[in-house]
């Protein structure tokens, strides 16, 4: 009973998500839809007495593979659109043919399982699903398991070789950076200190509130230019700030 309720709920959710995956115009939405499909699958596995598969589905697919998908999307730019010009002639037609063929194949495969009752599950899960798997991994397939670590090392090595840029000069220390700031100050008069905070007489410490100097005037250094620009557009710019900006404009 619980199983069929879960199934019918998740069937609707995952089919809608899968359709959303295909038809959504934004790649990120598609990726998130894929995440929904994967999670539904994981729950379905769990309902089907396959807790290990469910855990792997969540840890590896939803956790890692999905993350890689999103990562690649971000890497190429979220809204970079693909060229829709088809370079292979008749691509669409053959894609549809292949899709239908695959659907037929799947249908036949599933039809087979409907005709014959599944067998062997009870034997395989005799000692519990996960412990039985552990027994297989650590006895019969222990060699394959250990060799897998070579694969993981290669993956890390590959990422480093292809993506890591070796630093050729030593990393600048705090001391170097500080020295450079004061050299800049000496040469060009650039303020070496951080920009001032809200100031002694300020009534707010929010970022759009300029700091007040001890004489009550606004410190020009503390004016947030981005917000000031917004405020100028909306006409809510405080007069003393506007005055400072204007003075600067004239000073240039």
């Amino acid at each position: 009973m619980g199983e069929s309720i879960t199934f019918w709920v998740l069937a609707v959710v995952s089919v809608i998500a899968a359709l959303g995956l295909v038809f959504s115009r934004r790649a990120v939405y598609s990726a998130l839809m894929l995440g929904v499909v994967m999670l539904s699958l994981a729950v379905l596995y769990a309902v089907q007495d396959a807790p290990f598969l469910a855990a792997v589905q969540i840890i590896v697919y939803t956790g890692a593979v999905m993350m890689l998908f999103l990562f690649v999307l971000m890497l190429v730019g979220v809204d970079s659109s693909d060229s829709l010009v088809e370079t292979i002639r008749g691509q669409r037609f053959w894609a549809i043919v292949a899709g239908l063929g695959f659907a037929a194949l799947l249908g036949l495969g599933i039809g087979n399982t409907l005709i014959a009752a599944p067998k062997g599950l009870a034997v395989a899960n005799q000692n519990g699903n996960v412990p039985s798997l552990a027994e297989l991994i650590f006895t019969r397939h222990v060699f394959a398991f250990e060799v897998t670590s070579a694969l993981l090392i290669t993956a890390a090595l590959g990422a480093m070789v292809l993506a890591h840029r070796e630093r050729t000069e030593p990393k600048p220390t705090q001391r170097d950076l500080s020295r450079a700031r004061f050299v800049e100050f000496g040469r060009h008069g650039k303020n070496p200190a951080p920009l001032p905070g809200p100031g002694t007489y300020a009534r707010h410490n929010a970022i759009d509130m300029p700091a007040l100097l001890p004489d009550g005037t606004v410190s020009p250094l503390s004016v947030n230019r981005v917000i000031a620009r917004h405020e100028a557009e909306e006409g809510t710019l405080a007069p003393e700030v506007a005055q400072i900006l204007q003075q600067e404009e004239e000073g240039k």
């Binding site: 019969r140 397939h141 394959a144 070579a150 090595l157």
Partner: protein, 518 residues
């Protein structure tokens, strides 16, 4: 939920060659991590060479002193039998030679992460930066190559396939010159390779569905006894076949080979053309004979067609190539076809099987050495921008450097299978097995394809010796000791196997005699 699981038995001595290679690779990564930059290469080269030599010695010791085991090792995961030991020895020697080539000259990029042609790349080059990660990567690939032909179940075979391929995908993209081509080669190889691995994995899953096991031996017994699931069996076997045929570059799955061979750094091309081919053939033969032997009435006609197509495609398309590495790649495709003839030349009789298998083994040794030698020569003919890849640049090489051109011509003749070269006896052994196995039409196609192939080999030879050298022709670099040793060794192997092949033939025969363990 009670009782303990008994610890598995693992025959460490039997697996020692592989363990040595993997261990050295891990030590190599540690060297990368902890040794200062100027020391790395100085540690890597002896470490890599010593581990390969040590693994080879262990293989010989196993075969000679301890006898050939009759049971699969590591709980039935790895079959260290006669053919596997022979293939291990071959791969280890070829890998050793390829590593000599790798260390020879600057074939590899200084900083792979820099954009090709950027100032950063220039700077890295100027500072003499280098990716010494190449050595552990090569060792991982070799470890995978050792495991692949010895895999006794499909899961180990898949893991081995990946361990072998992943470092190679990476190494393909590290050529110093013609960076974009190299990166393109890496991406193509990776995508197509991942695709073919997926086929292999689906095939494994379907065969598991059919036989209830992924052990080759159990699949073999299931082929005769399980009924009503033939669809699973056929689709699974076909998908497995696609994955394996892709790795050996048989038509119609050969498209990656020219692009990848052309773009990869030449020493890596040499490693792929020799080691990967040997490993993939070992695995192919094992899967088809041990696992799907009972199905041979079904796969034999398919492989028949594939072999013919492969030989024809390789030989005919090679004629149209103008890039020397692409030409060698197509030649490698054609040789894959010749080797497939040997796979088909099996029969029900054990003697027939042994003769076909020994033919394949000998062919693999002969071809492996010659191809490494040929690629070593390619590294030595240089233009200003790297290797002189265009065939027209090779015109008149015989007049500028008779020795090098002569050696290259000799290798080409060996590819063509002219008597007194190793290639002749290789083809002879395979074709003879095929004739006695009743595959005469295939042999005729093979001979015709050989003749076509001989045409373009001779064309290159004519180009080298009977055309005038260009005024600004390529220069022949003085080979480093490593490269010179590689070329010398390859010449020696090609001559000895061509003039006095008996010892190696005997060795191949005695390795094949025991057939595969089941």
């Amino acid at each position: 939920m009670n009782g303990t699981i008994q610890a598995p038995t693992i025959e460490y001595a039997l697996l020692a060659p592989m363990l040595v290679v993997f261990g050295a690779a891990i030590v190599g990564v540690l060297v990368e991590a902890f040794a200062p930059r100027y020391l790395r290469s100085a540690i890597h080269v002896p470490l890599t060479l010593l581990s390969l030599a040590g693994a080879f010695a262990l293989t010989i010791w196993q075969a000679a002193a301890k006898g050939i085991p009759t049971k699969a090792a590591a709980m039935g995961a790895v079959a260290v039998d006669g053919p596997a030991l022979f293939i291990w020895g071959t791969i280890l020697v070829l890998a050793f030679v390829s590593v000599l080539l790798i260390k020879g000259e600057d074939h590899f990029v200084a900083a792979a992460s820099a954009v090709p042609g950027s100032a950063e790349e220039e700077q890295a080059l100027h500072e003499g930066a280098a990716h010494s990660e190449i050595y552990p990567l090569v060792l991982f690939a070799v470890g995978g190559m050792l495991l692949f032909p010895a895999a006794n179940d499909l899961l180990v075979a898949f893991v081995a396939l990946e361990v072998m391929s992943l470092p190679l995908y990476l190494l393909c993209g590290l050529a110093r010159r013609r960076r974009l081509l190299s990166q393109e080669a890496a991406v193509k190889y990776f995508l197509l390779g991942a695709f073919s691995s997926a086929f292999f994995l689906y095939g494994t899953a379907l065969l598991y569905g059919y036989a209830g096991s992924i052990d080759l031996a159990k699949i073999s017994t299931a082929v005769g006894s399980v009924g009503g699931q033939d669809t699973l069996l056929y689709i699974g076997a076909a998908m497995l076949g696609v994955g394996l045929l892709f790795k050996i570059g048989a038509a119609p799955f050969q498209a990656w080979k020219p692009d990848v061979y052309q773009g990869a750094p030449t020493p890596i091309t040499a490693l792929m053309a020799s080691g990967t081919l040997v490993a993939a053939f070992g695995a192919l033969v094992r899967v088809f004979w041990v696992g799907l032997g009972g199905l041979d009435w079904d796969w034999r006609p398919v492989l028949y067609g594939v072999a013919i197509l492969t030989m024809v495609v390789g030989a005919v398309l090679a004629i149209t190539q103008t890039d020397i590495k692409r030409m060698l790649a197509y030649s490698s495709i054609a040789h894959g076809g010749f080797l497939l003839v040997g796979v088909i030349a099996t029969g029900k009789a054990a003697a027939q099987n042994a003769s076909a298998l020994s033919g394949i083994l000998f062919y693999l040794v002969a071809y492996g050495f010659t191809t490494v030698g040929a690629f070593a020569v390619v590294t030595m003919v240089r233009d200003a921008g790297g290797e002189a890849w265009h065939l027209s640049r090779w015109a008149g090489l015989g007049k500028r450097s008779p020795l090098l051109a002569g050696i290259f011509a000799f290798f080409l003749l060996a590819f063509a299978g002219i008597p007194l070269t190793s290639g002749f006896f290789g083809k002879y052994a395979v074709f003879q097995a095929a004739v006695s196995g009743g595959a005469l039409p295939l042999v005729i196609v093979g001979v015709v394809a050989s003749a076509v192939a001989a045409f373009f080999y001779v064309r290159v030879i004519v180009l080298m010796f009977f055309s005038d050298p260009a005024a600004d022709g390529p220069s022949i670099v003085l080979p480093s000791r490593g490269t010179a040793a590689v070329v010398g060794l390859a010449v020696l192997a090609t001559v000895v196997l061509g003039v006095y092949p008996q010892p190696v033939l005997d060795l191949a025969h005695s390795a094949a005699q025991s057939l595969f363990v089941r």
